[in-house]
């Protein structure tokens, strides 16, 4: 009797949970942004969140949890339940820590839902400055090794890794960290730093306004539609890319059915003309979006590249 009752209860519970799955999502899904409001990661989340809201009919409140290069936000995601009611933005700068530091999380702790945006980085100089082209920079760096200053986000970041890569090729420049983007841009515009490492979309106002110009992009091909005259690193013989990417992840162990609901909705959102317009405005790669099933493979490839460049970093 007891046994039969238990079976009945279990069946009921199973049915209930199946019903619950069908209804997923029924309540708001927390969208963690491990960076401050207003930045690139925040914008992607708000853009995608507003598209998802219209589709899945629940709200996606953005929760900014900045700190420690994204580790604080990651800790927040991993400390929560893995029921699909929390997802997070996860960007290349945070991912790079596996190559350069020893973060408290590992790739198996999360499942990528999609890569949302990919932007090649580049070096920029001010338009009325002494350096106009990549060759000018190389000449100046070789004449006075270590004297050219590159405005970067911080030491050990993708920015700094790129500067170190060129140092290993005999083009020695010095990384100068500026914590806030505004300070970094102003430093280059005001001539306090010579070079800026950035993604073109983030400084679009200054490029459109004729204040900054790119001299090299760290990419396999030229960005022909916007900057046909700016060389790509590959054609110059430099095997350095490290593009910025921003992905969306959930905690590992989330019910695959729920992962699929979210991943499908995100894929739909990425095809929305509004999202495409956003990518265009950001000068991101037009084929930025990588669906969940291929995202892990892409990230593995990026990690291998990061590890290779990180090996060139000076040991602490």
């Amino acid at each position: 009797m007891v046994k039969r009752l238990m079976v009945a209860v279990l069946a009921l519970a199973a049915a209930a949970s199946a019903w619950a799955q069908e209804k997923f999502p029924t309540r708001p899904i927390e969208f963690i942004v491990p960076w401050g409001p207003g930045g690139g990661a925040d914008q992607v989340a708000r853009k995608v969140g507003s598209l998802l809201e219209a589709d899945l009919k629940v709200s996606f409140p953005v929760l900014n949890v900045p700190g420690a290069s994204g580790n604080t936000g990651m800790a927040k995601l991993l400390a929560g339940a893995n029921d699909g009611h929390a997802m997070s933005i996860f960007i290349a700068d945070t991912y790079a820590q596996i190559a350069t530091a020893s973060p408290r999380w590992k790739p198996g702790d999360y499942v990528p839902l999609a890569i949302m945006i990919r932007q090649p980085s580049g070096f920029f100089v001010r338009s009325d400055g002494p350096y106009k082209t990549w060759n000018d920079l190389v000449k100046a760096a070789k004449a006075n090794p270590g004297k050219l200053k590159v405005g970067v986000t911080g030491f050990g970041t993708l920015d700094d890794m790129t500067v170190n890569y060129f140092a290993s090729k005999g083009i020695r420049m010095a990384s100068v960290p500026y914590a806030k983007p505004g300070e970094r841009y102003a430093a280059v515009l005001g001539g306090h730093a010579d070079v800026l490492y950035e993604q073109a979309g983030d400084v679009r106002a200054m490029i459109d306004g004729g204040k900054l110009k790119p001299v090299i992009f760290f990419h396999t091909d030229r960005i022909y539609d916007v900057f046909p005259d700016v060389p790509a690193s590959k054609e110059l013989g430099f095997d350095i890319y490290l593009p910025q990417f921003r992905s969306i992840i959930v905690r590992a162990g989330t019910d695959p059915k729920r992962v699929k609901v979210l991943a499908d909705a995100i894929e739909k959102a990425a095809k929305d003309p509004e999202y495409y317009a956003y990518l265009k405005q950001q000068w991101a790669l037009r084929d930025s979006f990588i669906p969940g099933k291929d995202a892990q493979k892409f990230m593995d490839g990026e990690l291998a590249a990061m590890k290779k460049v990180a090996a060139l970093l000076p040991k602490k």
Binding site: D42, A179, R204, G209
Partner: protein, 497 residues
């Protein structure tokens, strides 16, 4: 010039449309509320308002956020002056003269001075924004890390200009604040400091927690000890508390302070990374050095209220200049306004005057309307707010505690932050109990991380040569001012001996 005025007239026509005017009013009220609540900072408030702009047109979206930003620099004056609880870090300097004046029986007058400061500073900055944004933006670019560091150091010296108190105690308190600011992971090299392997400490201690804990909770603890029997400012003397505007003669007597503070506010505002908080502290420090009545500063004089409030509100116009002309946010709140622009597919910068000129001039016009509206609102809001003074203190204190906790939690969504503010509440209470100044500690924890970052950047970009602080003209002048500010009390003592 004439063209600018024509565009501006068009901007006013835009702002006075019902939708925009409604949004502006909502923004002003929200900004005041956010500023009044301890813990919930104005930057947090603007972040919380951002999702509501998703479905708006560009112009009303930006007007909403700008209006919040403007009134956010003003609302905290109420709680600071009436209850000695700073709603925002920018209001800390208001505690010195503002609260002192309120204690001396003139809370209405103190509030009147903040009203005038916000009004004047806001309008002057809006004018500069409209007429001089291009040259002023170029000026901002000549500032780099060494200048930034010098300005912060000057801001730190404002503690010694607090008349009456012991300079030694102020410095001890300041260094405790700076020490608190070093706890956690260093931003440049990622080294952990004073963390002792505790996760909570390795994330660092936010200045917000120090401020809300030491002032908000500390004040409640102090009142608790007194059995909630203290009289709130002015209430006991039966003085009617309403906004009392300063007389014209009094205003004219403070014109030097007003001009100095407006300029400091605008200038600090345009420097990327520095906002209303630094403007407020630096302006108070400058008043302590160069004000006509510098010796009386801290005892409740109008200049001490006018200086920080004028600079704080003026910094809004200043911070919008690099945002609109170059796409570089000059402060925390303008970074969010930038995001609102980008989410609408518009990139602020030189070409925005052409591509979205209407919006830009509507923003300019909205700044004028917002400053006027905010002061009107402040004039009437005070009557309502003052009723709170009539409630039993225990009830008011309970709400203060609630808002402190809500605000502290909202900042990082981190539960451990609540333990931290409680700890600082106890520290604040002990400081108060043993007549030790709290303000320098709070100041140190606010400006410490900024100073450290500027210092590291200066050292790295100048091959560890600290003399650049003195050899670069602007940095050198500001450093000289800071050193004079530090040495002055010692010199004065030596002279009187």
């Amino acid at each position: 010039m004439l063209e600018t005025l024509t565009h501006l007239a068009g901007g006013f026509a835009d702002v006075l449309q019902p939708v925009n005017l409604l949004v502006l009013a909502i923004g002003l009220v929200l900004g005041l509320l956010v500023a009044v609540l301890p813990g919930l900072t104005l930057v947090m408030g603007v972040v919380l308002a951002l999702p509501f702009t998703y479905r708006m047109e560009l112009t009303p979206a930006i007007i909403l956020l700008t209006a919040m930003y403007v009134s956010g620099t003003y609302g905290g004056a109420f709680t600071s002056i009436l209850f000695r609880i700073p709603g925002e870090p920018i209001d800390v300097p208001l505690l010195w003269d503002g609260y002192a004046m309120a204690r001396a029986g003139a809370p209405a007058k103190a509030l009147g001075w903040t009203l005038f400061g916000a009004l004047g500073g806001g309008l002057v900055a809006a004018l500069v924004l409209v007429l001089l944004s291009e040259p002023v933006a170029r000026l901002a670019l000549t500032f780099s890390a060494p200048e930034f560091l010098a300005i912060i150091l000057f801001g730190l010296t404002s503690v010694v200009s607090l008349g009456g108190g012991s300079v030694t105690n102020a410095l001890i308190s300041l260094f405790i604040g700076l020490l608190i600011a070093t706890v956690g992971t260093d931003e440049t090299y990622g080294a952990e400091r004073f963390a002792f392997g505790v996760r909570m400490l390795s994330d660092g201690i936010e200045y917000l927690l120090v401020m809300v804990g030491a002032y908000g909770l500390g004040e409640v603890f102090t009142r608790l000890e007194q059995g909630f029997r203290t009289q709130t400012a002015g209430a006991g003397k039966g003085a009617p508390i309403r906004t009392e505007l300063p007389r014209l003669k009094e205003l004219l007597a403070t014109k030097a302070t007003f001009i100095r503070s407006s300029l400091i506010g605008i200038l600090v505002g345009i420097i990327p990374g520095a906002g209303a908080t630094i403007a407020s502290f630096v302006s108070y420090g400058a008043e302590g050095q160069y004000g006509r009545r510098r010796k009386e500063l801290g005892s409740g004089i109008p200049e001490g209220i006018l200086a920080p409030q004028t600079a704080a509100t003026a910094s809004v116009g200043g911070a919008l200049i690099p945002l609109l002309t170059m796409g570089i946010p000059g402060s925390g709140a303008t970074a969010i306004i930038l995001a609102a622009f980008l989410l609408k597919g518009v990139q602020p910068g030189p070409q925005v005057f052409v591509s979205s000129g209407d919006t830009v001039y509507a923003i300019f016009a909205s700044l004028f309307v917002a400053v006027l509206g905010m002061c009107l609102l402040g004039y009437f809001a005070i009557k309502l707010l003052v009723r709170v003074l009539a409630f039993p203190e225990a009830v008011v204190s309970a709400f203060v505690v609630m808002f402190c906790f809500v605000g502290a939690f909202a900042a990082r969504n981190n539960l451990t932050d609540l333990y931290v503010i409680t700890a600082f509440g106890v520290i604040g209470y002990l400081f108060e109990r043993f007549r030790f100044p709290i303000a320098p500690m709070v100041l140190g924890s606010i400006l410490g991380p900024l100073a450290e970052n500027a210092f590291m950047t200066t050292m790295i970009s100048h091959d560890n040569d600290w003399t650049v602080l003195f050899t670069r003209p602007v940095a050198g002048v500001v450093m000289a001012l800071a050193i004079v500010a530090l040495a002055y009390p010692a010199l004065r003592r030596w002279r009187t001996r």
